[in-house]
Subunit: 215 residues, 2 copies
């Protein structure tokens, strides 16, 4: 399945690049591009280094191995998603508007990083402690966002009683599936996943969720 567009740039690092950081960033961007282009299939160390234009020893030198590089990639993308969520939480908006914007944001992030959740899951199954810590670093603040949202919607009489964990899973599941089962859409249903489709998908998902939990 060819990608709809080229892989976007990764978010920038938080601090200015120093020493080996430039090579690290090249390796992260190369891995991101290969995962994006090959819908999640993990590239080899040699493919990553060829794409990055660096010596094949650099993955080991900069990260201590491919799994550590993959964890660093999940970390980079996750940090930007959490920062976005925190900015949204701080806005003075109704719970409905926050949820609608949140859904659009999740879908936008799956367009950018369609491989990231499943990569995190695979790393965790390899018993990687850093990956497990990362899951917590993503999952716990996101669950906190849902808890606050449901509590506020309940206080305002806008939402019916809803379990925030289950709502979290419903929303992420709906948003993720359009990317995990993209070959169903593009193959069996002849539905290209283009900008117009993404817009329609976001509106549909927000409508189902907001009607689904309205008081």
């Amino acid at each position: 399945m060819p990608p709809a567009t080229r892989a976007p740039r990764l978010p920038d690092r938080d601090a200015p690049a120093r020493g080996a950081d430039v090579t690290r960033d090249k390796l992260l961007q190369a891995t991101h591009e290969l995962l994006f282009e090959h819908t999640g299939s993990e590239p080899s160390v040699s493919e990553i280094c060829t794409r990055a234009g660096v010596n094949v020893a650099m993955v080991s030198y900069c990260f201590g191995g491919k799994d550590r590089l993959l964890v660093a990639l999940v970390e980079r993308t996750t940090a930007s998603v959490i920062a976005e969520l925190q900015r949204l939480a701080a806005l003075d908006l109704s719970p409905e508007d926050k949820l609608r914007r949140h859904i659009a944001g999740i879908v936008r992030n799956y367009v950018r990083y369609p491989y990231v959740n499943q990569l995190g899951e695979r790393l965790q199954r390899r018993q990687d402690a850093a990956a497990a810590a990362l899951t917590e670093r993503f999952a716990l603040p996101t669950l906190g966002f849902y808890r606050d949202l449901v509590a506020e919607g309940d206080r305002q009489g806008a939402f019916r009683a809803t379990d925030p964990t289950l709502l979290f899973f419903s929303v992420i599941g709906m948003c993720e599936f359009v990317f995990t089962a993209r070959s169903w859409l593009e193959g069996a249903f002849s539905q290209p996943v283009d900008d117009a489709f993404i817009e329609r998908f976001v509106a549909h998902t927000a409508d189902v969720v907001l009607h689904g939990i309205a008081a």
Copy 2:
């Protein structure tokens, strides 16, 4: 992540077993158990044959290779899911009741075959024509079920205008995510995926969807 329960038996073949069918069934059941126990990681040919108690040449003899064996496994599980869907479609029930039962059925099938969608996707990415045909054999009748359901709900004034393809993706996505992100639930959220949780999850999902598309 240890499985909550042992892998269930695969559905029986449609026709009586003949010749090499007994060995084929042993290999399919062994592969199903290993995929179930290792949350989707693909077992090697030698692991499969050891579990099945057959000679290692049998995968090639019975199926013509591991990918063909995996396709046959997806085929076996998919056929039983489609048969279940067709029985449900034929029942004299309201669209709401059909959708509620359908959601419970999907979740039940993910409990039985948590690996099957992602396995089908991977096989298709390997450019496997048989896997692509299989996706169509699953996706098209399921989409037909959603089209009929939405049309009937619309005729009865029960549902608001809803795109059946998007509704299909919403429902399957919600149901699947609880299994693809099971380590989030069991790890970060300390929520065991047991029978009580599954029951609560089915009720929540059906409520969100039915309120979500109600007229």
